[in-house]
């Protein structure tokens, strides 16, 4: 009985080794044949091409993207809205108004960007990462972003947004202390204030410090600070910003 068992195990092992070696031999043979057929193609690229072809879709390799268009001309859009309204073309009037709103929002976003400092906490602003984004949903999706950084991987990103939905979520945290305060020794999420405005500060090992400040009814300002040494450094930096000026520009009280 024992002998039969040993024999069976040996047989299984031999068959497995044989199968593996046969597979590898088959692969080697296949590679050699492909190299003979197309000597300029190496194995790795042929594998990639096979993968691309497997989903049946070609991969895009050309195309310069979309060209940047100028923000809507607010005065022209307002004139169009009035003309369309007078002609009772209400759909056109609405479209022109939404374009005018977008134009105003982009100008306002650029105005706020200009008001932000060129250097902060020893970091220089990277103008290539400035973003002002607006959709035609009237005010609720205006987002402004600026990034400050240095060569030592220290970075601060500020996002100023006016989004009623997000502001509502933040308010939920601000009004419910139990949701953010913990009694553990290590506290990674807590409420604070920046120049009298309610705020939340959060720390995560991978992303660093995030400070969210509520501005008036529906605006928020977020600092994402990577490689900042302490919470105090983040707070000092945030306090150096003209928050009241930004609030005023956004029409917040």
């Amino acid at each position: 009985m024992k002998r039969t068992l040993y024999f069976s195990c040996l047989l299984v092992a031999v068959i497995s080794v044989h199968t593996v070696s046969a597979q590898s031999l088959f692969k080697k043979l296949k590679d050699k044949v492909s190299q003979k057929i197309n000597p300029n193609t190496d194995n790795s690229s042929s594998n990639n091409n096979n993968n691309d072809a497997s989903n049946g879709k070609p991969v895009n390799k050309v195309g310069g993207g979309l060209t940047n268009t100028a923000p809507p001309d607010v005065k022209a859009e307002m004139a169009d809205a009035e003309a369309a309204h007078n002609e009772k073309k209400y759909s056109d009037a609405r479209y022109a108004l939404s374009q005018a709103l977008m134009g105003v929002e982009i100008q306002l976003g650029n105005q706020i960007l200009k008001s932000l400092p060129a250097t902060s906490d020893g970091l220089d602003a990277n103008a290539s990462k400035d973003v002002v984004m607006s959709t035609q949903w009237g005010w609720s999706n205006l987002s402004i972003q600026r990034v400050w950084e240095n060569k030592n991987d220290k970075q601060m990103t500020i996002i100023i947004g006016n989004a009623g939905i997000y502001a509502g979520l933040a308010s939920m945290y601000f009004t419910n202390a139990a949701m953010v305060e913990t009694n553990n020794n290590k506290q990674n999420f807590k409420q604070t204030r920046v120049k009298g405005n309610k705020a939340i500060i959060q720390y995560e090992d991978n992303t660093g410090y995030t400070l969210i400040v509520s501005l008036g009814q529906s605006s928020m300002m977020v600092w994402q600070c990577v490689n900042f040494a302490t919470e105090q450094e983040v707070m000092d930096t945030a306090n150096s910003f003209d928050i009241d000026g930004i609030k005023k520009m956004l029409g917040e009280q």
Binding site: K75, M78, S91, R94, L108, W137, W139, L250
Partner: protein, 198 residues
């Protein structure tokens, strides 16, 4: 006859007031923008947009039939509201005050539009509702007809949802059959409404 003339006069006055409100908001927007007061210009433009939405709503109400079958419209329940932001204008009209009632509501930029379109285009999703709804066509528009409980156990009510671009047209009739609600829906000028609110 006197009442009819009064009604027309009232509608004309309301229209003039609406146009004045729009012009006033536009004048404020232009003045604020020229003065560099962007936030004020923004607020005034929003006001102007609300006025446009309200005007469109009033125009849609004019298109809706004053009578649906035996049910007459309840003019005191006519309502148009405008919200700048997530949901646009909301238009509402009710019909009948007796045993049978109907209700039309049109919500521009309705959050339910995506769900209704999914149900209309994915029959599997419709099948999961327990056979209480079906997809139908009204004047060439795809629509979702849902059976609901009537005023008594032996009666049924129906709700018809028709996506018109970004707007959702909802038509409810209580104590009726599916054929009756579809016949009533055929009397509503959907194409003209869609053109106005697009």
């Amino acid at each position: 006859m006197k009442n009819f003339i009064l009604l027309i006069a009232l509608a004309a006055v309301v229209n003039v007031c609406r146009a004045q409100d729009f012009n006033k908001a536009m004048a404020t927007a232009k003045a604020s923008y020229s003065a560099g007061k962007l936030e004020d210009a923004h607020f005034a433009l929003q006001q102007a947009m609300q006025e446009v939405d309200l005007t469109v709503g009033k125009e849609v109400l004019k298109l809706l039939p004053s009578k649906l079958g035996t049910m007459t419209s309840v003019s005191k329940d006519d309502n148009v509201s405008s919200n700048v932001g997530f949901v646009g204008a909301t238009i509402h009209r009710a019909y009948g005050q007796g045993a049978q009632n109907a209700d039309i509501s049109i919500i521009d930029n309705s959050p339910l539009i995506a769900m209704t379109n999914s149900l209309l285009n994915m029959p599997m999703m419709g099948m999961m509702t327990g056979g209480k709804d079906k997809n139908v066509k009204v004047q060439g528009y795809k629509a979702r007809l849902e059976k609901q409980a009537g005023s008594t156990p032996d009666k049924s009510s129906y709700e018809l949802q028709i996506p018109l671009g970004n707007a959702l047209f909802t038509f409810k009739v209580n104590d009726c059959t599916d054929d009756q609600i579809l016949a009533l829906a055929d009397t509503v000028p959907l194409q003209e409404i869609a053109k106005l609110i697009e």
